[in-house]
Amino acid sequence: MAIQDDIKSAIAEVLPGLSCVIGWGAGPEPLRAAPLFMRDAADVEKFTAGFLAVNNPALFLPALKGAKVGLVVKGCDARSVGQLVAENLVKREEVHLIGYPCRGIIDMDKTAAALEGRCEPGEVKGLREEDGDIVLDTPGGEVRLAKTDVAADKCARCRYPNAESADVFVGEKIAPVVERDDYADLAAFENMELDARKAFWEMEMSRCIRCYACRNSCPLCVCRDHCVAASREPHWLTQADGVRDKLFFQLIHATHLAGRCTGCGECERACPVGIPLLTLKRAFSRQVEGLFGYTAGLDQGMPPLLTFKLEEPAIKEREW
């Protein structure tokens, strides 16, 4: 992988001026990489990019404020950084972005589905990339899967595969997968009857274990250690094991992300019990994009719900 070596060179070049560079390295098993914090040349050697570069490194930025940090970013990761910068949560001059053309990342749940009947993803012993495919070494022999079949949903609607805001861009920029996000997934979801949607969320949320991986994996969650989820002043949520409290937490998170969410999907990926949390956030994003034409992570300035216009041409108020 020539590009991987090029990225390594780019990292090595800037690393001396930075406290660290965050990218991806080997994970606990063949199908999973892990966030990699590179501090010296030996660390840089461990760097891997590509189909397994799943984690959004922007997540770690706010906690590292005060020191200049390098990030290797996919297009979607760069949007998270962009939004953090727009909201003054991170100083742009404290971040050095190394971009590369991202051709999509793996989705473990889709991989599990593709492997069903053969093995679990956790039994895969090896992986190699060939053209547009991944070839998996499974207990029952090699299995070849098309990347597009097991790539994350967000990759199929990727508008910004190249981190346009990068300080250094390694490789050739590639064309976006789609020109615009038509929110077809939401439209399909909303083909269900209203009551069926309610029942869907109740059922999904009943699996929630309140681990808050969704929240802690969200690069734009600002409250961090002061989340209302466990506070009594204000006391929005009880600690009872009820669907309503669990769903309400998701509404809190989605509301706080309204107009700010860049759709990186880390919340949904992090959820150990597979609740489709991004759907809620995308419902807000669809609204905000439609009404205010604001694209989180790309547009400058405060997110639309933290500002206003005297006239709101897109808001059609109801007549009485």
């Binding site: 600002v222 002061h226 506070s231 002043e233 204000p234 006391h235 309503r244």
Partner: protein, 652 residues
Amino acid sequence: MRIGVFICHCGSNIAGTVDCASVASVASTYPDVAYATDIMYACAEPGQDAIIAAIKEHRLTGVVVASCTPRMHEPTFRKTVERAGLNRYMFEMANIREHVSWIGKDMEANTNKASELVRMAVSKLRLNRELKPKSFPVTKRLLVVGGGVAGIQAALDAADAGLEVLMVEKQPTIGGKMAKLDKTFPTVDCSSCILGPRMVDVAQHPNITLYAYSEVESISGYVGNFDVKIRKKAAYVDWSKCTGCGLCTEKCPSKKSYDRFNEGVGPTTAIIIPFPQAIPKKASIEREYCRQFNTGKCGVCAKVCPTGAINYEMQDEFIDAKVGGIVAATGYDLMDWTVYQEYGGGRYPDVVTSLQYERMLSASGPTGGHIKRPSDGEEPKDVVFIQCVGSRDVSIGRPYCSGFCCMYTAKQAILTKDHIPDSHSYVFYMDIRSPGKGYDEFTRRVQEEYQARYIRGRVSMVYPKGKKLIVRGADTLMGTQVEVEADLVVLAVGAEAAKGAPHLAEKLRISYDSYGFFMEGHPKLRPVETNTAGVFLAGACQGLKDIPSSVAQGSAAAAKALALLSRDMLDSDPQIAAVNVNRCVGCRKCIEVCPFKAIQEIDLRGQPKAEVIETVCQGCGLCNATCPQGAIQLSHFTDNQLLAEVEALCRF
């Protein structure tokens, strides 16, 4: 907590459609309720005494009164509980009159709803905390916006009492509409003779600073300490040099300018002094008519000015001032009567407005006090007055009565006879509204002594016939059609809120009604206050009124402002936002949205945190709704308090 609940009957106002005893009995089962009773009139002295007695007897620590709207009596009952030794914020009201008993007659539903509202109030009260106001110093200076008779009165009264006053007037002269009037009803005394000296008083008063040809650009701050930015519009004449000699106005070659002061009765020059008694008596250039500005060639005024006051380069100037209170006295304007096609829609020169007619009657007006037809300068013999042009007309969205037209029409009919003894006046009217002191007698005099012919009916059409105008209308008393051949038609054009009034209201953060008139605090009990502390109303900006009423309200506004600004310190409202620094992450979102810049970032042991500037916070709670982790809470309307109310209403 030990809560006492008092369900007020308000005589039969509430008890007529709410079973108050039953509400009290249900309320006694609510959490922390130690005592609940119904009471005939909670706000009356025996009612308040009963509350105080109950607080003492039952050792209550909080009180709920279910009665009328808190906008009415919350302050009353807060004082009551305070007298009994409780903190005034350990009190909640349930509005079971305006929101229950007065809007439906279903006793069962009303009683149930009243119980629910009491449950909400109890739920909230359980989370109330004692709040204590802080005091802050007051800027002893009053801003009066508008230099008409109401504003003049307010300014002089306040200044006479020793208060510093800033007066802002958007025209180059003060005096307002009254300065344009020839005479006033019902005494028919000379308008400028009574107003003129008061205008001079304003100019000469050591406590009054006058900003004429100026407008309020912006207002921030709060009661006791408003920050006002005044835009002093460029007059292109340096008023510190201008002596008001008038030489420039004589020499100005641009003699076709619209004469604003004279309602366009005659043309005027591009550089003007509005009228001889103008205060300040200073010249100003109307840019749109000035040759210098339009062609770049002229400069006559600059050449003739003996003091070199003309300055074509002049820019608008901004003045920042701090004031403790504000009186809005922005008056009214005439509506655009040309919507009435039946009166010619402005096409016939001999159809004039009543205010134009005043200028014709005035000895200092463009006609020198001679009534002349605009079309040919001839003296009219038959003058028709049409009343209610734009008043009481639902079809054009003006259902209200302008209030003073009946009276000035009568006055103008009298003056017509005085000016032209062989003239005949005809007055088309809907009803004669003359409820003031000496008013009805006046309207009788014009008919009986001055032989004005009053015709009760509407005019359906005015059209020219030769040199005359035919006024065709109905006489509803006779049940006949009438046609009058008129030489001049005078329209009693209805008044409306001053242009730009809503805009000023937005700056003052006060409400206005659908017609643009400013809302008083209470229609009966707080007629000059607004719901924004420190902002008072005087004159027609609050609702149309005649000169005596405007003057009275000007004095009233001054009295209110004096009461406010006579204090050295004011208590701040403690219902403001507060930051829990332990929870604040310093994300600045509250700072971003605060409309009052009342939140600042501080450094707490190396961590950025938000801090509320207590005297600047107005208590809107926008920050509270914005803070994702709820670290900033609006006291008395905290998340938990609102959640308690919501939960009291929820099924699960």
